[in-house]
């Protein structure tokens, strides 16, 4: 094995990740924890069920019905907490997510190898929230990249176990889309192990509905 045999794939993965970060909330749970995450945002609907062997890794099934590309993706996704900053009243995180599987384009050809890579960063206190993510997909040669950012504020500070409410604004950039820049005001409800987000994308007049449950 030469150095290049290791370096080339590693560099490719890194480049892919940098070009493609994603942004779900906390894709890694506590050691031994299971999580189910569902996203519906007009461009795609997805389900990700993962298991965290450590508090820094998770792996699980990821399936996505991509409405924009008219493709069904099914694969295995690995999530890694790259770095966490723990402050007295804040927390910041960097995540890498990689998925590999097959994309099944409806109508024409059969399923082909496909992949998703994303990088996500967030910083939050109990009052304020910010996040950024980049997501790159390669569905049977159909490649795309998107970037999104969020800011949010909690109108009140609840105790553990209370219903927490966040008001957020999401801005997303999809260079190849008919509407390259979209804005989505949304509301997040958070109680115990469950989280629900409801929003509306102004430019495309599409609803956003996400949920997460941990167990």
């Amino acid at each position: 094995m030469t150095f290049l045999s290791y370096a080339a794939p590693a560099a490719a993965c890194l480049a892919w990740a940098v070009l493609a970060p994603v942004a779900e909330a906390r894709p890694v749970s506590y050691a031994g924890g299971w999580t189910a995450m569902q996203i519906n945002n007009g461009d795609y609907s997805s389900l990700h069920i993962h298991y965290s062997p450590t508090a820094f890794d998770s792996v699980g099934l990821y399936t996505e019905r991509n409405w924009a590309d008219d493709i069904q993706f099914t694969g295995i996704q690995y999530n890694r907490l790259l770095k966490r900053w723990n402050g007295p009243s804040s927390q910041g995180n960097l995540y890498l997510k990689l998925a590999a599987g097959q994309a099944d384009p409806f109508g024409s050809a059969g399923p082909e190898l496909a992949g998703i890579a994303s990088f996500a960063a967030d910083w939050e206190t109990r009052r304020w929230f910010t996040s950024f993510e980049t997501r790159a997909t390669d569905f049977s040669g159909n490649q795309s990249v998107s970037h999104s950012g969020r800011i949010g504020v909690a109108p009140y500070i609840g105790d553990y176990g209370d219903l927490h409410t966040w008001l957020m604004l999401q801005v997303e950039n999809q260079p190849d889309a008919a509407e390259p820049v979209t804005t989505t005001p949304l509301i997040r409800f958070f109680k115990g192990v469950q989280m629900v987000e409801l929003g509306y994308t102004v430019e495309t007049e599409e609803l956003l509905a996400n949920w997460i449950i941990r167990f």
Binding site: Y30, W85, D159, H164, T165, P185, V193, R214
Partner: protein
Amino acid sequence: MKTVTIALSSLALCLLAAPAYAQETAEPAHMDHSAHADAVRPAPAAQEEATPAASGETVTARVNGLVCDFCAQSIRKVFGKQAAVETVKVDLDNGEVVLGMKKGQTLDDETVGELIRKSGYALVEIKRAGGV
């Protein structure tokens, strides 16, 4: 027209959220809010009781990074698996994890710190009260 629709939708969402919050504040009986903390239950070895009073030593760990319920749940799950731990409380307001130990049992500082680190958080200091 689109702006009006969005504004009305946002208002409706806020109105939907308000009653739920009001219910939380009006019915605190299920929670121990006296110290803005939560008594931890799910530990297989932990007792189910309304207050976190433990029969043994109380270990209070000040922890950085506790900002949400998912964080608190992680701490609860990790310490709840420890045989020496009777109760676990997570105080998000003060960034503290309060462990009630079983009588005659305890976790040393190194173990507490390691469990917190493995949970993804940072230990600041540990205080102990009560005897073993």
